[in-house]
């Protein structure tokens, strides 16, 4: 997934510590290096780890709790009240660890997260050995983690400082959305991001009703408003962007803003379909994300790629849009670029961090093989990922997680789900 889209048959990758030091033909690499450990990928496909650009990791708890409901009913009567009642640091840690287990097992190596108690999320990510960019969800109303937005900002600053030199955990500032954040909170968020030179991410124009709400609010288009408060830059990551006009897209392109597409969540919540082909044509960097588990309901980026490739075809009635290679790029190198990490992950070449996945092709649904990109998008499933390296460390081998005690984790989440249900009298 380098700039030239190089494919190497009978290839080899040399990894030293955290880094890829060489990529090339097997014979050539073998003659140049000796290694303590050799992972044989004969009959397998090796590619960069997938980058999930938008998640709410602890929401694995809410998977399947309430589906097929009208959006405001879902949020106001199920998700928000439950979150207020029983989300705490322990909750965020446990359910994030489950998310990490699921993500590693489906080939994701980096994700960008927004939730509450993100320090606990960071600790779960750290123990799973994953790479992340994460931030505390900031909004005007009190959260279980902060009484007011000022505390939320302070907590974010604490996260930035605490994790500043960590090789895997990166922090960004994440005001939740324009309709949940005051002018002041948006401005303070921007100031904080600038102070530390970290990215700024927000949900943006996800639903029609959000767009309608914002229409009269600023006396100008929301994108013009963002421009005026200095948001539009290469450090700005906007999640969803379902209701972007041509003018919004042009402004995003002009300022190098990043967009994250979450097709399965947008479909399941009936939010709409983002104009991704138009954005790409305009030059906007687009990453791919699953969104939280409660609106998907899994974190499998292979399935997300498949949906992304197909959805735009049927909406535009044009089978040539979102071809397989474009979609694989969204989930790898373009995703890395969306998160500002293109110099460390998203492609396999010398100098990059060793975030690598190995896919088992020896399966009926992956036979025969004509085109690698087609397979990745239209036929591979998360369960086909055999081995995963993150930052040079093997975190899954032959589908066995090495950083997480999976059986113990499964027992604990089951027990905890039952306890929550009992304690809070749900369903």
């Amino acid at each position: 997934m380098d700039d030239n889209g190089t494919l190497i048959k009978k290839g080899s990758i040399a990894v030293d510590g955290e880094n890829i030091i060489a990529v090339g033909e097997k014979g050539e690499i073998e003659s140049r290096y000796i290694s303590r450990e050799i992972i044989n990928a004969e009959g397998f496909m090796v590619m960069p780890g997938l980058i999930n650009c938008h998640t709410h990791a602890p929401m694995t708890y809410f998977r399947g709790l309430a589906d097929d409901l009208e959006l405001t009913d879902w949020l106001n009567n199920y998700i928000f009240p439950d979150e207020a009642r029983f989300v705490n640091g322990e909750f965020s840690y446990l359910w994030s660890l489950l998310a990490c287990a699921e993500m590693i097992k489906s080939g994701t190596t980096t994700f960008c997260d927004m939730y509450i108690f993100e320090d606990d999320v960071a600790m779960a990510v750290k123990s799973a050995g994953m790479r992340c960019l994460l931030g505390e969800a900031l909004f005007d109303f009190p959260s279980p983690n902060f009484k007011n937005p000022e505390e939320g900002l302070k907590y974010t600053e604490f996260l930035i400082q605490k994790w500043a030199s960590d090789p895997l955990v990166n922090i960004l500032v994440e005001p939740h959305a324009l309709y949940t954040c005051s002018f002041n909170l948006l401005q303070e968020s921007k100031k904080l991001a600038d102070k530390y030179g970290v990215p700024l991410g927000t949900h943006y124009l996800e639903t029609k009703s959000e767009k309608e709400k914002l229409a009269g609010k600023y006396g100008k288009s929301p994108t013009s408003f963002l421009k005026d408060i200095g948001y539009l830059s290469e450090q700005f990551i906007a999640f969803h962007c379902v209701y972007m006009e041509e003018e919004d897209i042009r402004m995003f392109a002009d300022h190098g803003c990043k967009m994250v597409h979450n097709p399965e969540s947008n479909m399941k919540l009936a939010s709409g379909v983002a104009s991704v082909p138009e954005m790409m044509r305009a030059g906007v960097t687009v990453g791919l994300g699953t969104d939280g588990c409660a609106s998907n309901n899994n974190l499998d980026m292979f399935q997300e790629m498949d949906t992304a490739a197909k959805l735009h075809k049927v909406v535009k009635l044009d089978p040539t849009v979102m071809d397989a290679r474009t979609v694989v790029r969204m989930a790898t190198c373009q995703g890395a670029k969306a998160l500002g990490m293109e110099n460390i992950v998203g492609s396999l070449k010398a100098g990059m961090k060793a975030d690598i996945i190995v896919i088992d092709l020896n399966k009926p649904h992956l036979t025969p093989l004509y085109n690698e990109y087609s397979h990745i998008v239209y036929a591979v499933n998360g369960a086909d990922v055999d081995t995963v390296l993150i930052n040079g460390k093997v975190v899954m081998k032959n589908r066995k997680l090495l950083t997480i005690a999976e059986d113990e984790l499964m027992a604990m989440v089951e027990e905890t789900a039952i306890r929550i249900k009992k304690q809070f009298g749900m369903n």
Partner: protein
């Protein structure tokens, strides 16, 4: 029958887990005991009733910590096309068909290719929880043979198309009769049927001759209908009417007709489908990938039309995983209709099981787990990170599971997969054979 006093030995007992019967009353049974004998469900009872434990069975399967549900029913496939999986994607439909698929078919489709491709596809389907498929392709007897050899249940359709030239009506009757009689009594697994490719590739004479033969033999008649806007335009130009109307006027529509795709029907055509009790096969992923369009399935269901789910062929999907097809079916209509309440998980799971059985006219035999029906069932391993926690079985199966979560599969009382191993399929040699075929077509 008081089954507790029945001393006959069972073939299989499944104990434990959670049973989703998909019966009319959608019964869910915790910790069940399922007895299987002579290919059928002999009884279902609660596992914690002590006297039921006196049964003996040749084989006892534990489903503790798993879901047990009817095997999935894929109502539309072209199995051997897995040989063309990924050969050509992301192209305009006519370019894809005329410059890639049709030339590849005319050059490479042989009996051997059809058998090998069907075997590979069947392996993929069993591994992803499908227990019945409804297929149409060239050399369909080879598909039937592959199904028979692998223990898969199949509706196999002798297909007709006026290409390279039309078949004479007498000859159609003859071919149809020979195919049906060849397979009709061979095995309960194989159900012969007839198919016409579409109203734009078959003349009214062909369409009616095949339907006559289907009526005479009382078999299913399937046909691609109203798949693309181009097709609707062609039929309008040729006959001055829309495709479903055209089929109605030549008396094709009845309760043994399976209309595949049905993406662009007019309102009055939906009424016709409903009034004639025509069944519909919905193939969302293929229709998305080919940019054909999105069938108005929620309206079909509202009008009482039976809708089954299908993957279509491996070249336009590109997998045969019915779990992923369910996930897509549930989500696609929500965003198209801008209504997150349509196509709820239960509705979609019905499409892939009992309503799929109804679409094929097999609901008295398969589609739900009930005494007297064939023992076609799957055991899904839910002890996986992406299936936790378990708030809702239907939701997990539709929105979170994939075919790879299916652990065990039983078709007609025979174990066709256990712990993801296929005892009846020689997978390495089938894969090797298909790779060799693909190599001659141009694969890596």
């Amino acid at each position: 029958m008081d089954h507790t006093k029945d001393n006959n030995e069972l073939d299989i007992i499944i104990e434990g887990g959670m049973l989703l019967t998909m019966s009319d009353t959608m019964d869910v049974i915790d910790n069940p005991l399922i007895g299987i004998r002579d290919g059928k469900i002999a009884f279902i009872t609660r596992g914690d009733i002590p006297e039921t434990r006196s049964f003996s069975a040749r084989k006892v399967l534990s489903a503790h910590g798993s879901l047990i549900m009817p095997g999935l029913i894929n109502t539309h496939t072209h199995l051997p096309m897995v040989c063309f999986r990924g050969l050509a994607d992301d192209l305009p439909l006519m370019d894809w068909l005329h410059n890639h698929i049709f030339p590849a078919e005319s050059k490479f489709v042989t009996r051997e290719m059809v058998y090998a491709g069907a075997m590979l596809a069947i392996a993929e389907m069993i591994l992803s929880g499908t227990t019945t498929f409804c297929d149409a392709y060239y050399y369909e007897s080879e598909v039937a043979r592959a199904a028979f050899d692998s223990g898969m249940r199949a509706v196999v359709s002798q297909g007709f198309i006026d290409f390279p030239e039309p078949t004479a009506p007498e000859k159609i009757a003859d071919i149809a009769e020979r195919f049906i009689s060849k397979w009709q009594l061979k095995s309960p697994l194989i159900i012969p049927a007839l198919a016409c490719h579409s109203p734009y590739t078959c003349s009214p004479e062909t369409l009616t001759s095949v339907k006559d033969a289907a009526r005479k033999a009382d078999v299913l008649y399937s046909i691609h209908v109203s798949e693309t806007k181009e097709e609707v335009a062609i039929i309008r130009e040729r006959f001055g009417k829309t495709p479903v109307q055209h089929l109605k006027d030549i008396d094709i529509l009845d309760d043994r007709t399976l209309a595949v795709h049905c993406i662009w029907p007019e309102d009055y055509e939906i009424e016709m489908l409903s009034a004639s009790n025509v069944k519909v096969s919905h193939n969302p992923e293929s229709s998305m990938k080919l940019a054909a369009g999105c069938a108005p399935v929620p309206i079909f269901i509202e009008k009482g039309i039976t809708v089954g789910l299908g993957t279509d062929g491996g070249a336009s999907n590109n997998d045969l995983d019915m779990f992923r097809e369910m996930g897509t079916a549930a989500k696609l209509h929500k965003v198209i209709q801008m209504d997150s309440t349509v196509m709820d998980a239960k509705t979609v799971l019905k499409m892939a099981t009992i309503n799929g059985a109804k679409a094929l006219g097999l609901e008295d035999r398969i589609g739900s787990i009930e005494p007297g029906k064939f023992a076609d069932l799957i055991i899904v391993d839910t002890k996986k990170p992406h299936l936790a926690p378990m708030h809702s079985y239907y939701s997990q199966l539709v929105y979170a599971a994939s075919g790879a979560d299916v652990k065990t599969s039983i078709i007609g009382g025979k174990i066709v997969m256990q712990d993801r191993k296929l005892p009846l399929v020689d997978l390495p040699s089938i894969m090797q054979e298909v790779r060799a075929i693909a190599k001659s077509i141009g694969a890596n």
